[in-house]
């Protein structure tokens, strides 16, 4: 295969707080190839946002610090770059859009001014040319009458329009990587459908790679080429989208899929993953999923499983992945599920 555009190896980002060390990202590895959509999926607190902020080196410090691992972009180690070099990459080669467009757009500037600022900074265009480009970008992301909208403030727009403005801003310099952190979580489904469709269209047109962060497995199934499933600060499964849904090799992924109510299913009890998401200050020893895992064995309590190839480039962090693959154990049924 060709070289990946972006590659994370054993990335560790910790927060040093009064309550102890929060190991938000604690050994994350994945690769993103040109033109593909890689979905990073996991529950809240699993470390998705901190992973994406780490790639752009935007983690608040203190209390946060990248304490280990590497991030390579086009062969360069981003962690070794000077801040000035990093600034030239942010927004130009790697851009990011956030979950809540209201908090990431500046309320005192018009939408146009915010897009123009990015263009002026990275492309050295003058005001007039930048404005023309900003209007063009707004039209591109489906905002009607962009000549008027360009002078409006974020609060004058709906949530869906603000997210379009964020996308216009992120794509203004035609980056090769777009990181979209829960870009549709705050939006209604009909608006979500519009935004996801827009992202797919722009990805094809601009040939960029998208790192899509989400907790919605429906969104993953519809948009991703590949999937990295995160649990407790680590990637526990990494594979193609069909493999993730059809030949799941990790009990956590399997449990998540089984617990979804689906359109068209009957009035049965849902399968559940027992217990709660662990506290990142005190992750369980051994396999971090073992207290909730229906098929945990003695070894899982003390030994740490590595993320490894369990066949055909499908990576999983589980001692029993081969048994799951052969059908020798059912990663969901395991023991009888407790009440509720």
């Amino acid at each position: 295969m060709t070289e990946p555009l972006l590659e994370l190896r054993e990335l560790k980002t910790h927060f040093f707080t009064d309550d102890g060390v929060v190991r938000a990202v604690d050994g994350v590895s994945f690769a993103l190839y040109a033109g593909e959509t890689l979905a990073v999926v996991g529950e809240s607190g699993s470390g998705k946002s901190v992973t994406s902020l780490s790639v752009l080196r935007l983690v608040a410090s203190p209390p946060g610090r990248i304490v280990g691992g590497s991030i390579r972009f086009r062969g360069r180690d981003l962690l070794a770059l000077a801040e000035a070099e990093m600034r030239a990459i942010r927004g130009k080669e790697i851009s990011m859009i956030f979950q809540e467009p209201m908090t990431s757009l500046n309320p005192v500037y018009t939408c146009g001014e915010q897009i123009m600022e990015v263009i002026e900074l990275h492309e050295g265009l003058g005001r007039a040319a930048a404005r023309v480009r900003a209007i063009e970008m707004l039209r591109h992301v489906g905002i009607s009458s962009p000549e008027q909208r360009v002078d409006e403030y974020p609060h004058q727009m709906s949530g869906g329009m603000r997210q379009r403005v964020m996308i216009a801003m992120a794509l203004a310099c035609k980056p090769s990587v777009l990181i979209a952190d829960e870009p549709t979580t705050a939006l209604d489904v009909t608006i979500q459908a519009q935004i996801l469709e827009l992202l797919q269209k722009l990805r094809r047109e601009l040939g960029m790679a998208v790192l899509l962060i989400t907790h919605d497995l429906g969104v993953v199934a519809e948009t991703a080429d590949r999937v990295a499933v995160m649990y407790a600060g680590q990637v526990v499964e990494y594979c193609g989208v069909r493999e993730a849904f059809r030949s799941t090799r990790h009990p956590y992924t399997a449990g998540l899929l089984a617990s979804l109510p689906r359109l068209g299913d009957e009035h049965q009890r849902l399968r559940v993953i027992p217990g709660n998401v662990p506290n990142p200050v005190r992750f369980p020893a051994g396999c971090r999923f073992h207290p909730r895992c229906p098929i945990a064995v003695e070894r899982c309590r003390s030994e740490v499983p590595a993320l490894r190839d369990v066949g055909g480039g499908h990576l999983a962090r589980c001692f029993r992945a081969e048994e799951i693959a052969s059908g020798a154990v059912d990663p969901v049924a395991g023991e009888g599920a407790p009440r509720g």
């Binding site: 459908a193 907790h215 199934a221 299913d265 998401v277 009440r339």
Partner: protein, 326 residues
């Protein structure tokens, strides 16, 4: 058919818009604008729709947590909208609400035990040892341990707090629960636990639910019937299977088609709506959905749809639709 436990007729709630504290009313947000439905004893009616369409406002009006502008709500034959404060208290024994956000809805300064004992004391149901016994029973009922009574809300996770919110609502043995997005703030793996718990409780305690949510797959899973709201109105109401297999309102159709399916081999055929939900302060003329409606455009009926407001009518037994062309 079973009797309606709750009858809602032409319910409206208009919030005044003021520019400043002392200025005159500049208009009204028509948050709920003519909602009617029946809730049958023992059923779960799902109420879905996009943000701001009036789901929460409807739920709160039913319990008179906010005062409706007009319309009637009958609970077991009694007119809720006409009750005086003292009578309202006895109503609250029968109807309770569970809120969306398990983080802000529990008082951080009360232990779980005091929080659960409070409604028992207010309604004169149990005190002292009896109350402690009932608290233990409630905790067990929602899948927690009686030992948790001594702890404070911050010591619990989101899913556990939602269990506590449910226990608090159940303390007075209500017959009807308004569940306002009870699982929306929870992680996927925890949502299923709460959905199952609600289902078990409904069977055990013969509860009736109004289940407000925007997640259409969760609503399909839990509901007996489903009502779809758009801009303060119900646009379609039908038994669950009918609504999901044979939706007649163009809004319901596009809403259902917009739900991403967790199956990479079934990437959905979308009816992508253009535009945003209009403001409930200035709802469009005629059919409120007409500026976004693919059907009105396709049939060349924009003239009629923009002037003529469709009423909610029964197009098949139990299947109600507000569209001229259902």
């Amino acid at each position: 058919m079973a009797d309606a436990l709750l009858q809602v007729r032409d319910l409206r709630k208009h919030f005044p818009i003021r520019r400043g504290l002392w200025s005159r009313v500049a208009g009204h947000v028509r948050a709920v604008d003519g909602v009617s439905f029946d809730l049958m004893a023992g059923e779960t009616l799902g109420l879905v729709g996009e943000s701001g369409c009036g789901k929460t406002t409807t739920g709160r009006c039913l319990l008179r947590l906010i005062e409706p502008t007009s319309g009637t709500v009958r609970f077991d034959g009694r007119d809720v909208t006409a009750l005086r404060p003292r009578e309202l208290r006895s109503l609250r024994r029968e109807m309770q609400i569970v809120f969306q956000d398990p983080y802000s809805s529990l008082n951080p300064r009360l232990t779980i035990g005091s929080m659960l004992a409070e409604p028992l004391a207010i309604h004169g149901l149990a005190r002292g040892a009896n109350a402690r016994e009932r608290v233990a029973e409630l905790l067990t009922l929602v899948g927690m341990s009686p030992d948790h009574a001594r702890r404070y809300p911050h010591e619990f996770s989101g899913g556990q707090r939602q269990r506590l919110g449910i226990a608090r609502a159940l303390a007075v043995k209500p017959r009807l629960l308004v569940l306002d997005e009870p699982v929306s703030a929870l992680d996927v793996s925890i949502q299923a636990q709460i959905v199952n718990l609600l289902r078990d409780l409904q069977r055990e305690l013969s509860l009736t639910y109004l289940f407000v949510a925007h997640d259409l797959s969760v609503v399909e899973h839990v509901s007996t019937r489903v009502a779809v709201m758009y801009l303060g109105r119900i646009v379609e109401l039908a038994p669950r299977e009918t609504l999901y297999r044979d939706p007649r309102h163009p809004y319901t159709r596009s809403l259902l088609s917009a739900v991403p399916v967790p199956d990479p081999d079934r990437r959905a055929q979308r009816i992508v709506l253009t535009g945003d939900v209009p403001s409930p302060a200035k709802p469009p003329s005629g059919c409120r959905f007409h500026p976004r409606c693919p059907l009105a455009a396709e049939r060349g009926e924009l003239a009629r749809c923009s002037s003529d407001d469709p009423t909610l009518r029964e197009v098949a037994p139990g299947h109600w639709v507000a569209c001229h062309f259902a």
